[in-house]
Every structure is written in structure tokens, then in C-alpha cells.
């Protein structure tokens, strides 16, 4: 690992990134804030409205509902995708080497598809008695068909299933590398001390993999909170029956494009932003190694953590 230098930074290296950021994001962002402070006039000049849109949001029950749904949905996705991917990564380590690549590829496929393709494929998987979910997983076992999209109790699960399908492959890949990065010596030491497989998982693997898990969780959080594709694919931009599937992004889309209220939609996103920011940085912070670890290198003086891939050298710790 490295520590930060107090030398003069090569600022020119920062320049391109921040130039693009300033020019293509911050300017529109500022304008977006302005729009959120204006009336929702679609055709004609919008007047300055101050915080009216924000005040209206505070009273908007549907917004609160969308916020709740989104938080719940994010939590469900994290709770589903991370453990499943971790489990699959474990399994993948045991698979015969030749199979590993093709299996990974199949799992990754859903992550590579454009939203239009997903929308069409959803028709295959979720829809009706002939949908694959019903046809393959329920009917052969004599279970009744479920209305995956229409039933408000099921919508969130369908959304989570969609996310599982989409991101498990990618997360498994990340966790696989993470698992391989756990030094063998740690496991050996734990085994010598009599730890069971579960205990090793809890006390060795997971703590060591915290940075990886944090990164994976952050990626998922961004995707579920910000990207629109899932809800749009299943519900066509609406909230579904009784708004059970209404997420912030879909409500924002609805407000902007179906109602033509661009000001309110902007206000919506800026209101939710602090929440997301806090969540994201909390996740990232949780993944940062504790300060004690970083001093290891300084003690060595050579600064050599090996740069090669994860199959471990036995680094026996005193």
C-alpha cells in the first residue's frame, strides 16, 4: 500500500477529468437546481417559484411512498445479491477449472444487455402462465401460477429477481477474486485453532473481504438507486398495481415526462440526493481498511505488498 505524499501534485492530471465534470455536469446541475426552483410550466415561460416544489414534495404522499419503496428495494437487493454471489463464488472456486470460464460467462450475460433487450426478455420470463418463471419453476411442481408483475405483493420480489439475474454474475466475479485474495495462511491458522467452516467465513473471510464487499455494495446501490432500467423494464415506467413497485426514478420519470412537471421532478432528485450520498459514503468508509493495517508497510520500509494475482504467498503474521 502507499501513503499519500505531500509533494506538489501534478494538477494537470486532474484537469481533463474536472474540465469535463465542470463543463458537462456541473453546469447542467446548476441549471437543474434552477429548474427545481421554477414552476412546472410546460409550454411558455416558467416563473420563479422559490421552494414551492420542495414544499409540495414534503406533502406528497406518493413521493414518501416512492422513497420508502426505494430504500426497501435497495436493502432487499443488497441482502439478496451479495450473499448469493458470495455463495456462488465459493462454489465457483470448487468447480473444475475448465468449466469456470464458460459458467462465468453465462452468469455475466444478463449484465451486458441493453435495456431494450431486457424489456423483451422480461416478456419471456415474468409474464403470465407461459412465462419461464411460472412454466419452469412453478408448474412442474404443481404450484399455482403467480402474477409476478400484476400482484402488488410480488412486484418487489420480481424487481429483486431481475436485479439478481442482472448483477449476480458480475458480483460473483468480484467476490471470486476477493476470495482468492484471502491469504491461505489465515485459513490455516484458523483451522489450527479449531474454527469451523462457518466461523472461518465469519471471522476470516468476511473481514478480509470488507473492501471488496463495500465496493460491490456501492456499485449495487448506485445501480438500484440511480439506474432506471429495472423498473422501466418490468413496469413500463409506472409504479405497478397500487404503486407497489414505485421507485424514485420511476416517479421522477413519471413526474417529468408523463405529467410534464420538470421542476417537481428535479426537486425530487435533489431531495433524495443527500440520502444517497450518505449511504454511499458510509458504504465506502466501511470498506476502508482500519488505520492499523496501513502502518504495516511503513514498518517494513520496503513497501512491498505483492502486485501479483491473488493466489497467496503464505504471509505468516507474527
Amino acid at each position: 500500500m502507499s501513503t499519500r505524499s505531500h509533494r506538489r501534485p501534478p494538477f494537470l492530471l486532474l484537469a481533463p477529468f474536472f474540465a469535463v465534470l465542470a463543463l458537462f455536469w456541473l453546469v447542467p446541475l446548476a441549471r437543474g437546481v434552477l429548474i427545481s426552483l421554477q414552476t412546472d410550466t410546460l409550454f411558455g415561460d416558467a416563473a420563479f417559484a422559490g421552494l414551492a416544489n420542495y414544499r409540495a414534495l414534503a406533502a406528497d404522499a406518493r413521493f414518501a411512498h416512492a422513497l420508502r419503496n426505494t430504500v426497501l428495494y435497495c436493502a432487499m437487493v443488497l441482502a439478496a445479491v451479495l450473499p448469493v454471489s458470495l455463495a456462488l463464488a465459493h462454489l465457483l472456486r470448487r468447480v473444475w477449472p475448465g468449466f469456470r470460464g464458460p459458467l462465468q460467462f453465462c452468469l455475466l450475460l444478463p449484465g451486458l444487455t441493453p435495456p431494450l433487450v431486457l424489456a423483451l426478455l422480461y416478456l419471456m420470463v415474468f409474464h403470465g402462465p407461459q412465462g419461464l418463471l411460472n412454466k419452469i419453476f412453478l408448474q412442474p411442481f404443481g404450484l399455482p401460477n403467480l402474477d409476478w408483475i400484476g400482484d402488488p405483493r410480488l412486484i418487489k420480489f420480481s424487481l429483486v429477481l431481475l436485479m439478481l439475474w442482472r448483477w449476480t454474475g458480475f458480483m460473483t466475479l468480484i467476490f471470486l477474486s476477493g476470495l482468492e485474495g484471502v491469504p491461505r495462511a489465515y485459513h490455516d491458522a484458523a483451522r489450527i485453532e479449531g474454527a469451523s467452516a462457518w466461523q472461518r467465513l465469519r471471522l476470516v473471510t468476511l473481514p478480509v473481504m470488507r473492501p471488496v464487499t463495500a465496493f460491490a455494495a456501492a456499485f449495487l446501490l448506485i445501480d438500484t438507486f440511480v439506474l432506471f432500467e429495472g423498473a422501466y423494464v418490468l413496469l413500463g415506467g409506472s409504479g405497478g398495481t397500487q404503486d407497489a413497485g414505485l421507485l424514485l426514478v420511476s416517479y421522477g420519470y413519471f413526474t417529468a415526462f408523463t405529467l410534464g412537471n420538470f421542476g417537481s421532478a428535479a426537486a425530487m432528485s435533489f431531495t433524495a440526493l443527500p440520502l444517497l450520498l450518505v449511504a454511499l459514503f458510509a458504504l465506502l468508509a466501511s470498506g476502508r481498511p482500519r488505520s492499523g493495517r496501513d502502518t504495516r508497510k511503513d514498518r517494513d520500509g520496503t513497501g512491498a505488498a505483492p502486485v501479483s494475482t491473488g493466489t497467496t504467498g503464505g504471509e505468516v503474521r507474527p
Binding site: 502507499s2 501513503t3 499519500r4 501534485p9 501534478p10 494538477f11 494537470l12 492530471l13 486532474l14 477529468f17 474536472f18 469535463v20 465534470l21 458537462f24 455536469w25 446541475l29 429548474i35 465457483l92 470448487r94 468447480v95 473444475w96 468449466f99 459458467l103 460467462f105 453465462c106 452468469l107 450475460l109 451486458l112 444487455t113 441493453p114 435495456p115 431494450l116 433487450v117 423483451l120 416478456l123 407461459q130 419461464l132 466475479l173 468480484i174 476477493g178 482468492e180 485474495g181 473492501p211 471488496v212 465496493f215 448506485i222 440511480v226 432500467e229 424514485l248 420519470y253 417529468a256 421532478a265 432528485s269 440526493l273 520496503t302 512491498a304 505488498a305 502486485v307 494475482t309 491473488g310
Partner: protein, 286 residues
């Protein structure tokens, strides 16, 4: 070398291989479930429209290339041209985003300076804003800049990504200072030092490029909003334009188009898989 008796060897062999076999079977079943819709999509491109929405029988009666021919001939949409547009846009975005994020990540990881944290937060902030909100002001701004209906209106916003910054900051954070310090002691300037680090993080560069390309390839809202002329559209928007509600949608054609659209990202992943794994390995090193 053990001289095991034949019967033990068989049982022992089974026990040794059982976990691998079990793991393979479970994963294969899962992989099949994951990939099946794509197999369906692939075969659907060869079926007549009416037969498409029944998943079984899976294989068409005969592999009729009619839809592919119609698609590539530009009869409905100028698909080849739109495909190239997508390649150009996604490719340019990838090159720029990788270069810019890499350079910025280096500085954030290796140096301390005033407002470091603030700038970092600011950069990551951009990722968190849903596209729907940015679309209107971005649209008017692009018009002011005169970039509407050009690929640059899609490329430039994508050239700065918070995910890229997060990625390369983490990558550089893990890069030991040995080689850079050595270069510095030999009198190299900071910019030269940066260039020297690049070969060291080659897998991370490739991995991120892959991620960025995939995300850029899948973009829908920004290309839809920024592009107007049929020849400028990306392949996603072009295919979407075939979806005219439920009236006269050429589903077979759509399936063929979607199958082809999947190819670049799938191919790139297959080719760069090893680098991807290496990069992740480096990142997750303790």
C-alpha cells in the same frame, strides 16, 4: 506414492471429486437458467413473428435468415450505420473516461492537497444524480454548445464518471510506491512518473475500460434525447423505434437486432476476461 487397493481408490476418488462435481452441476443449472432467455432471443431471430413468444419449441423449424437480411439491408432502420455509431460513441467514451479517471485517480490516491476530499465527493456526486433529472438541463446546454444531434453530445458527458474515479483511486491506493519512488530518485518529473505506473496497472485499465464500454453501450436516455437524425441514432434507439406500441412491430427483426447488439460486449468480455480477473485480484489483495 501410496499403494491403495482398487476399491478404496474408487470411493476415495468419488469423495475427492464430489464437491467439484456438485458445484459444477449447481452452477451449470444456474448458468442455464441465466442464459436461457438469451438462447431464446437468439433462436427467435430465426423464427416467423407469430412463433416467437412461445419459448417451446425452442428451435425453429428451419433457420430462416430472413430477419437478419432485412435488418442489415437497412430496409427498416439503417442498422449497420447505427451499429457503427454505437461503437464509435461507446468506444470514444471508454477511451476518454479511462484516461481521465485514471489520471485523476492517480492524483487522489497518491497525493494530499487542499480540498482533496471535497473535490472527491463532488466528482462522485455526479454518479448519483438520476439521468432523468439531468436530461433537461443537459439537453438545453448541449444545444447552447451546438452539439445536439452529434455523437459528441453523448460522448462528452460520459467522459467523466464517478465510478471511474472510485475505481482508479482504489487501484492506485494499492499500488506500492517502490517503482515510482525509484523513478523519482532518478530525476523523473511527476508526469513521467505517472506514465511509468501505467503498465503496472494494465489489468485495471482494461477491466475498467470493459465496464465503461458495457455501461456506455447500454445507455438509452441520453442518446435518445441528444440525437435526432436517423443516421445519428445509436443502435439501441434505432431498435426502440421499431417498437410502435403494439401495432405492426416486427418482433423477429427486433430479436435479430437485439442478438447482434449483444455481441460487442459479450465478445469483449470473453477476450478480456483474464485481465479482468487479474485486475480484480490486484484490487482485492490484502
Amino acid at each position: 506414492m501410496s499403494t491403495a487397493r482398487p476399491s478404496l481408490t474408487l470411493r476415495a476418488r468419488l469423495r475427492r471429486h464430489a464437491p467439484a462435481a456438485l458445484a459444477t452441476i449447481v452452477l451449470a443449472a444456474l448458468a442455464l437458467a441465466f442464459a436461457f432467455p438469451f438462447v431464446w432471443m437468439f433462436t427467435a431471430g430465426f423464427k416467423p413473428d407469430a412463433a416467437i413468444f412461445n419459448p417451446f419449441p425452442l428451435l425453429p423449424e428451419r433457420f430462416d435468415p430472413r430477419h437478419y437480411v432485412s435488418l442489415l439491408s437497412g430496409e427498416w432502420i439503417p442498422y449497420p450505420r447505427q451499429f457503427l455509431n454505437s461503437l464509435f460513441i461507446a468506444g470514444s467514451q471508454t477511451v476518454l473516461a479511462t484516461a481521465f479517471s485514471c489520471a485523476a485517480g492517480y492524483v487522489f490516491a497518491k497525493f494530499d492537497f487542499r480540498f482533496r476530499r471535497t473535490l472527491f465527493v463532488l466528482a462522485v456526486l455526479t454518479v448519483l444524480i438520476p439521468r432523468q433529472v439531468m436530461v433537461l438541463p443537459l439537453f438545453t446546454w448541449m444545444n447552447d454548445l451546438g452539439l445536439l444531434d452529434t455523437p459528441w453530445a453523448v460522448i462528452f458527458p460520459g467522459a467523466a464518471t464517478g465510478i471511474g474515479l472510485l475505481w482508479f483511486t482504489a487501484v492506485y491506493h494499492r499500488l506500492p510506491d517502490a517503482l515510482p519512488d525509484m523513478a523519482r530518485s532518478e530525476g523523473a518529473g511527476e508526469y513521467r512518473v505517472f506514465l511509468i505506473t501505467l503498465p503496472l496497472i494494465k489489468p485495471a485499465l482494461i477491466a475498467f475500460a470493459l465496464i465503461q464500454f458495457t455501461l456506455a453501450w447500454q445507455e438509452h436516455l441520453i442518446p435518445l434525447v441528444m440525437l435526432f437524425s436517423t443516421e445519428q441514432l445509436t443502435v439501441n434507439i434505432g431498435l426502440a423505434s421499431l417498437n410502435a406500441g403494439s401495432l405492426r412491430v416486427p418482433y423477429g427483426l427486433l430479436m435479430a437486432g437485439c442478438t447482434l447488439t449483444l455481441l460487442p460486449t459479450a465478445l469483449l468480455f470473453a477476450l478480456a476476461y483474464r485481465h479482468f480477473r487479474t485486475a480484480l485480484g490486484q484490487l482485492t489483495e490484502t
